[in-house]
Amino acid sequence: MRYALFLGCFIPVRLPHLEAVAWSVLPQLGVELADIEGFTCCPEPVGFLTDRVTGLAMAARNICLAEEAGLDIITLCNGCTYTLRQANETLKADPALRARINEILAETGHEFRGTVNVRHFAQVLSQQVGFEGIRSVVRKPLTGLRVACHTGCHILSPPGVMGFDDPLDPIVLDGMVSALGAEPVDWERKTMCCGWTLTNYGDRESANRLLGAKLDAMHAAGADCSTVICPQCFYQFDTGQMLAARELKMEYRVPTIYYLQLLALAMGRSLDEAGIRQHRVKDPALDGKLGRLTA
């Protein structure tokens, strides 16, 4: 299967090590990635926080580029997935709105036709590659690694549009973690937001308390680390945790690992190759455990 890789902004600009791991591991699962010139920001804050019509037009323009290449889109971010899927499904279903958006797009030389689909990599891995397909590339099973799965919000709701998992009881990511041989832990506050939006647009102190509550729950469940499928959640659990830990005087750390990094480790990549060394929140016990598992 061949996809247009939509990188968005957060990963290529702030977390390029996650981009590197995506280019490196996905093709080995049969997910061929095409580099499309001209994608811009999805554009998340334009759409649902500022101006719906402009947001739809900018999202539609991105989708048009994939349509012109004849490829479905694969994303690495919950926010990009939400924006692009919402726009895609809305414009496919509403001819009047599609006409209005196409009129706005006319000067750019693009036309939204509604011929492609948008999928998050977690959807591609769980629904198309399948758990068995994931298991088939595992060379170093992550046996005994206890992982708190945080699916995030925007890939879940509304489920009719997003088509991934139950927003109030998500379990697909747990299955993906099990496929690597690791052990997903049951933890409280699993469906609560990571708080990234609150850190940036709301109130940092409150966001820290929200983050602290989640990390307490992961720690109480005995998690070695958390795993995420969204760069905003990743940033919050990594850099955000580093900053919050000072204020909250936290006595422990719960490092986070983006799912494709866990997959890379299970496929036999080293900690360096998976980009784990670039993380801000480190725990010697986790490094030791991962070192033994991937040796």
Binding site: C9, F10, P12, V13, R14, P16, H17, E19, A20, W23, D35, E37, G38, F39, T40, C41, P43, E44, P45, V46, F48, L49, T50, D51, R52, V53, T54, A57, M58, R61, I104, L105, E107, T108, G109, H110, C153, H154, L156, S157, P158, P167, L168, R189, T191, M192, C193, G195, T197, L198, N200, Y201, G202, D203, E205, S206, A207, R209, L210, A213
Partner: protein
Amino acid sequence: MHEAAEICLKCGVCCNVAHSCHVKYDHRFNPRYTFVYDCLASEKRASNPNIWLCVSCHKCEETCPYDVSPVYFIEALKAEALGTGFVHPTIRAEVAQIVSTGFAFPVTGATERQRQTLNLKPLPPKAVDELAKIAEKTGLAARLKEAQP
């Protein structure tokens, strides 16, 4: 917007699932209060700073028994805030950045160096002329200018 706010029975289910209320990070925030009050009772609808405490997690949408879905109203109030001068400064700056560069975040020398180390392609120039045309046509460019501090 008014109609949906009138449907709300203030049952409080959204407050049970709103993460903001859960960790009691700010006693002021209450999705029910924020949108009902702002839709029906306030003369300056988008001036309530509590709208920025909503994280758009959509859990209220999943659980609201009357399909009121406060999240969409709070987002509409956030959008309205751009025109009324109550927009959060980070949002305004980020949106302006997207329109002018195609990226939501500034690309720095450190970004380029890190990409080089990882053998990733340099970030390509974005289609900013096309974004500018879209923002002109929808009026977003003018609204951003007006909202400048």
